[in-house]
Symmetry: none
Subunit: 393 residues, 2 copies
């Protein structure tokens, strides 16, 4: 590995890949002259986030793009949720996804979502739990509301090992479960989690709807080498949504302050261009349009990216420019999917391709990068940045 002075930009259009409606995917249906022009002189391929046929969550999909084996470095549900609400989690923190729920006088769950209480009520209840509980043993609590009945609890203290069952029974009409340790090292974690549930129930006892809490996905952030340790990169993240900012922080990126618009994100890259040598730039909205099943909205967002963002990205002077998605989110499926993700890599060292004049799933299937694992993309970006040494003599 050499510390080069080349600059790499990884652009992630969340959920970019699609499935055809009327024989064209969202990306194929979009009018994207800038992307098409770049594709004609770039290397294209299709990237498989985790494995063939496997639909990835955002955590593994991003870790793979950052070059980490997503099967080795697992990001538990609680951790993803904690990152998603913007909590600044640290190594050793035990994170749980939590629901406000309703439990009847018979001790059985009547409503796992407490009637989907409004987000403001959730925030107010989280405040009451924070004030009412304080510490449990030596363990500090971070409690942060999410949307509706959802919130996150982070337990911060010594020896809070993983390996715990959920208290959420996942069904109504049965009693909530104890959090049980799956290995002896997790005894303290389970004790603390159960104490939290018990104290919460006391505080919420008079509530009509949200009178109980259910925990699941208790997990610690993975112990993961930073991108600087692995690649000798000085990396920065430009993303609006907390989860992506949190994932970037897990691998040691500097998470930059930025505004909520795409223009603002681009301006942030521009402003910090000379401060970092690797930039991860994330755009969320394409995924959301896919999740909503709104084919046309996804097309429009891709067109907007091409028209408003692409000219800036190509003119900033990056040595390596990669445009891809973390996974596919076909509008047709209204969800993440297993389909491979369009991948474009531009540098002065790419081999161009025969008869490819557009950026799209079909073009990428004929691209000279073929099918590759998402976690191999980072190798290519480093290579095109002349940042990898020869292997062997």
């Amino acid at each position: 590995m050499t510390e080069g002075d080349t600059k790499i930009l990884l652009v992630v259009l969340d959920g970019l890949g699609g499935v055809p409606r009327n024989n064209k995917t969202e990306l194929e249906a979009a009018w994207v002259p800038n992307l098409d022009r770049l594709a004609a002189k770039s290397s294209l391929g299709l990237s498989v986030p985790v494995d063939v046929g496997i639909t990835p969550g955002s955590g593994p999909a991003h870790l793979a793009l950052f070059g980490y084996d997503p099967i080795h470095y697992l990001v538990g549900r609680g951790v993803v949720e904690a990152l998603g609400v913007g909590l600044d989690i640290k190594p050793g923190d035990l994170c749980a996804r939590a629901n406000f729920a309703n439990v009847g006088p018979d001790g059985k769950v009547r409503d796992r979502r407490a009637g989907r209480i409004p987000t403001e009520v959730c925030a107010e209840l989280c405040g009451r739990l924070r004030k009412g509980i304080g510490r449990i043993e030596d363990v500090e609590l971070l409690i942060e509301p999410g949307k509706e009945h959802r919130f996150v609890v982070v337990f911060r203290g010594r020896g809070l090992e993983e390996g715990l069952t959920d208290s959420d029974p996942l069904h109504e009409g049965v009693a909530p479960l104890e959090v049980r340790p799956l290995r002896s090292e997790a005894a303290k974690s389970s004790r603390v989690a159960n104490a939290f549930i018990k104290q919460s129930a006391k505080i919420l006892a008079e509530e009509k709807q949200a009178n109980y809490v259910l925990l699941r996905g208790l997990a610690r952030p993975p112990v993961i080498p930073t991108m600087h340790e692995r690649y000798k990169l000085n990396p920065a993240c430009i993303a609006v949504y907390p989860m992506y900012r949190g994932l970037a922080k897990l691998v040691g990126m500097e998470v930059l302050e930025t505004g909520e618009t795409w223009d603002s994100e681009v301006a942030t890259v521009q402003k910090h261009f000379s401060d970092f040598d690797f930039f991860y730039l994330h755009f969320k909205e394409t995924d959301r349009a896919g999740e909503d099943g709104d084919f046309d909205a996804k097309v429009e967002l891709i067109e907007k990216f091409d028209e408003e963002i692409m000219p800036h990205l190509t003119s900033m002077g990056f040595d390596v420019l990669c445009i891809t998605g973390d996974h596919s989110t076909p509008s047709v499926l209204k969800s993440h999917s297993w389909h491979a993700v369009p991948l474009l890599i531009s540098s002065r060292y790419v081999r161009p391709q025969v008869r490819i004049e557009e950026f799209g799933e079909r073009a990428c299937a004929r691209g000279n990068l073929g099918y590759l694992r998402a976690r191999q993309v980072m190798n290519l970006l480093l290579a095109h940045g002349l940042r990898l040494k020869k292997f062997g003599a």
Copy 2:
């Protein structure tokens, strides 16, 4: 994994892949308008049964298609033979491939095949061994004739471990070998196998030709999780030949009664359509034509499949339809080969491809599934059947 209500059909045209004669493979030379029409709106690729350059036997080739790593789950020679003669083998059975042979007065093998005795004589001799031997220690014997001098012995009893040498010296003019244990746990197995050889020799002593038996490939069936355990599928097998029915049983498929014709096999699928959610439908004859080196016969069989079978398969209402082979059997080579196998996957969620209007090796090489391992095909079929959960959050 979710238990969906989608239905998957995996069609295996045995030995489908070919090598060109006059610049076209058997599949490319065949007039297959139905397959071509389906290919134009399907995902195509080339599937590698075991590894690049490796010619697979039918056992590993099928296990791979069923989603099992064929290098991890080995199916020993004796087991394949036992399945091939239709023996109902059970976990722990020790299976051996056996030959009737001729040994001279000097104790050396004169003919490893006993002059290729007729199949009827083989059956008659197997009957005599069955009657004459009964049990050896606590071990029950299953003895089943194959073709000519070939037969199968299955030893059924406690503690019959694997790890044994062959008694067949593979050469003539030398003495038959003892079956030796390669590890101490296999001591009983070797004792029983050698006792079987000795008692057989006594029973056959007066025979002019087949006066001895040689054993090889002693193996137990692999301990293998069922497709229901792995995929929560309720799978059925429709195959005429015992070996394929046996392989399907190894992975827990329900093996359906069916007639010997292709029409009858299809009728069996139709009849049981609502009883299962995964169907493995096997057609043997394409492989046999390849093994015979009969290019034209293989072409005709593929055309017959297209004309007579395809219309039924596409109209039955499967959510996912996969048409492929277990391996290639090019007529030019008259044997299984290492060439990758044409693969077609049809579902409402496939991405179609550019300028692909036919099903053939060349088209598949340009297909958007690229090259993949046969054992990844099952992942794709489950994914297209919406039967896999998301990995990570």
